[in-house]
């Protein structure tokens, strides 16, 4: 599975947001997209999962233009954990996860098993019957990840999957995704986390991808001050690491 963006420009509501973006995610790679608020990261992601149509350029998944694929086929290749959450209706956790099977022909028994496995994977098998709206922010995020797993795609898009989460849950989610080994494109805000978790990293600024490559090479103090307008200082500081599960 390979995601390939060539020269992609995207507009939202008629306003050009992303300009001539080139981006690549190879099989099994964890790639991160960072950049200041409003630089167009989410907009670029939305163009990949077809919520927006690019005004120019080509987005291919496994060699096929995603905007020419039938909707179902596209959804069989790409799953999304976005920020929008189903808030108002009282769906249960298992109903939310089962939505991941929407792009496939229904098969009650197999679907149930797949969904149970996905929930188990995110550590929420006990919560299947609970009402989604009553969960904590971290649990919600894990349920949405389980839905994406149930979708059985080989490309995963994450739009700020760790916002609203405390440090432990942030690390858990990121570790979980890394361990999946699925090609992943994630929008992250925390540069330290982006450095720690990504194979490669792209930096966006004002709608353009300004740098890309291995995190240590890309995130130089110069680039950070240029893109974010802050000074990056190396300091001795606390580093958070996830405690290993004892089971």
């Amino acid at each position: 599975m390979k995601l390939d963006l060539r020269n992609v420009s995207v507009a939202a509501d008629g306003t050009p947001i992303v300009h001539e973006a080139d981006l690549l995610v190879a099989d099994g790679e964890f790639v991160t997209l960072v950049g200041p608020n409003g630089c167009g990261k989410s907009t670029l992601l939305r163009a990949i999962y077809r919520a927006l149509r690019p005004t120019a350029g080509l987005i291919t998944v496994d060699g096929d233009d995603v905007h020419r694929l039938p909707a179902r086929q596209a959804a069989q290749r790409t799953a999304v954990v976005a920020q929008e959450t189903p808030a108002d209706l009282d769906f249960t956790v298992s109903e939310i996860v089962r939505m991941g099977r929407t792009p496939y022909r229904a098969d009650a028994r197999a679907d149930e098993e797949l969904c149970a496995r996905a929930l188990d994977r995110v550590g929420l098998s006990g919560a299947a019957g609970r009402i989604f709206a009553t969960l904590s922010g971290g649990e919600k995020q894990r349920v949405l990840l389980a839905r994406a797993l149930a979708q059985q795609t080989r490309l995963l898009l994450l739009d700020e999957p760790t916002s609203h989460l405390d440090i432990r849950h942030q690390l858990e989610i990121l570790h979980l995704v890394r361990e999946l080994g699925i090609a992943t494109l994630a929008v992250l805000h925390d540069l330290n986390q982006a450095t720690a978790f990504s194979d490669r990293l792209y930096v966006m600024s004002a709608g353009r991808i300004v740098a890309g490559g291995p995190p240590e090479q890309v995130l130089t103090p110069d680039l950070i001050s240029q893109v974010y307008g802050v000074r990056a200082v190396h300091r001795t500081q606390l580093v958070f690491e996830r405690l290993k599960e004892e089971q």
Partner: protein, 372 residues
């Protein structure tokens, strides 16, 4: 320490869980119970009225008509020809129409609430009912010939389609609908259509016709005859069958537009088909029974309280519940102030307004209205 806390937290999660199996059994039981209620309420409806018919006689009359000759051997003919005529020619078609219209309006409400992700959506709030009423009033007052021979049903349908298209056009911006704009556009258009048909009514000046129209606008099943039934029955069965097949895209859409897109739903096309379907259902229902308020609002919420949000369960329960509800409402409308009939919207509003206010008080409803 950390792992200990986590292990302690786990049982609490399990305790909050409801096993899915139990829920499914509950759903099956509910469908059976509601089906029984549909039959029972209909049975009651055909025996109650100015000329009372014993329950056993009502059963005999219907059985005798459906399978001629089945009765003499089983039950003695204890009913009069007048009773037979009343039950068969008037009460039974009326009772069946109540079931169809109740189910139809309730299902439309459930679909629209999912479509616009707003718990306060119903055919009235989106202007669809008013559009249908406008079309119907034009035919009633001006006569079918003035509108190129359009039948009442066709005019009501055209009116509801017109309203729906206008609401859709007003509420969307570059192809995307925002729920708050949709509701505002719907409410505004409802007022516009109400003003339009009130204007036509005033122009008409013929008191008796205007009186009839007004009563009809508030909802009445008084026009039920056998030949009225096939169209709403067909539209309802076809509509509910289609929706049941589409329960997964419906769930995805209820979870949010972007979610639905990422799950492979062709949102624009699916929305369009839902819009056409709901307008067809509302148009046909309003054409046969007038604008009956609140059924489309209350019933889906009651259904969700019973079985949760999954449309595979919500749709059948909503349809059955709507059928029973309107049957009971019509019985009340016929008996409370007999021999005068109450308009159905009066009765539904007596149930509906308190429920509506309770809904407004709920936090989730607040959230949905404020989200743009």
């Amino acid at each position: 320490m950390t792992s200990e806390t986590r292990q302690q937290a786990a049982p609490a999660e399990v305790a909050g869980a409801r096993p899915p199996v139990r829920r499914r059994g509950r759903f099956a039981g509910l469908v059976v119970a509601l089906s029984v209620a549909v039959v029972a309420s209909t049975w009651l409806a055909v025996s109650i009225g100015a000329i009372p018919v014993a329950l056993s006689d009502a059963w005999g009359i219907v059985a005798d008509r459906v399978v001629p000759g089945v009765v003499p051997g089983v039950v003695p003919r204890t009913w009069t020809p007048v009773q037979e005529q009343i039950v068969w020619e008037f009460r039974l078609p009326r009772a069946l129409l109540a079931l169809l219209v109740g189910a139809g309006l309730a299902v439309v409400g459930a679909v629209l609430q999912a479509l616009v992700r707003n718990p306060l959506a119903d055919p009235f709030l989106l202007g669809v009912s008013s559009g249908a009423s406008f079309g119907a009033v034009l035919v009633l007052i001006l006569g079918a010939s003035a509108l190129g021979g359009l039948s009442l049903s066709a005019a009501a349908f055209a009116g509801s389609l017109l309203a729906l298209v206008l609401v859709y056009v007003l509420a969307q911006r570059s192809g995307r609908i925002t729920p708050s704009r949709l509701v505002l556009a719907g409410v505004a258009l409802a007022y516009l259509f109400q003003a339009a048909y009130s204007f036509v009514l005033q122009l008409a000046q013929s008191g008796r016709a205007a009186q009839q129209v007004l009563f009809w606008l508030m909802g009445s099943l008084g026009g039920a005859r056998w030949d009225v039934l096939p169209l709403p029955a067909l539209v309802l069965v076809a509509g509910v069958a289609y929706l049941l097949l589409q329960y997964r895209p419906l769930n995805a859409l209820a979870a949010g537009e972007e979610t639905a897109i990422s799950l492979g739903v062709n949102v624009n096309r699916f929305r369009l088909s839902l819009f056409v379907l709901t307008s067809l259902l509302v148009g046909v229902m309003v054409a046969t029974s007038g604008a009956i308020a609140f059924v489309g609002l209350i019933v889906p919420h009651a259904a969700r309280l019973l079985v949760g949000a999954d449309h595979r369960r919500v749709l059948p329960v909503t349809a059955l519940l709507g059928a029973v509800f309107l049957q009971l409402v019509d019985i009340a409308a016929r008996t409370v102030n007999a021999p005068q009939e109450l308009a159905l919207s009066i009765v539904t509003a007596l149930f509906g307004v308190p429920f509506f206010l309770w809904l407004l008080r709920r936090r989730s409803a607040d959230r949905a209205v404020n989200v743009s």
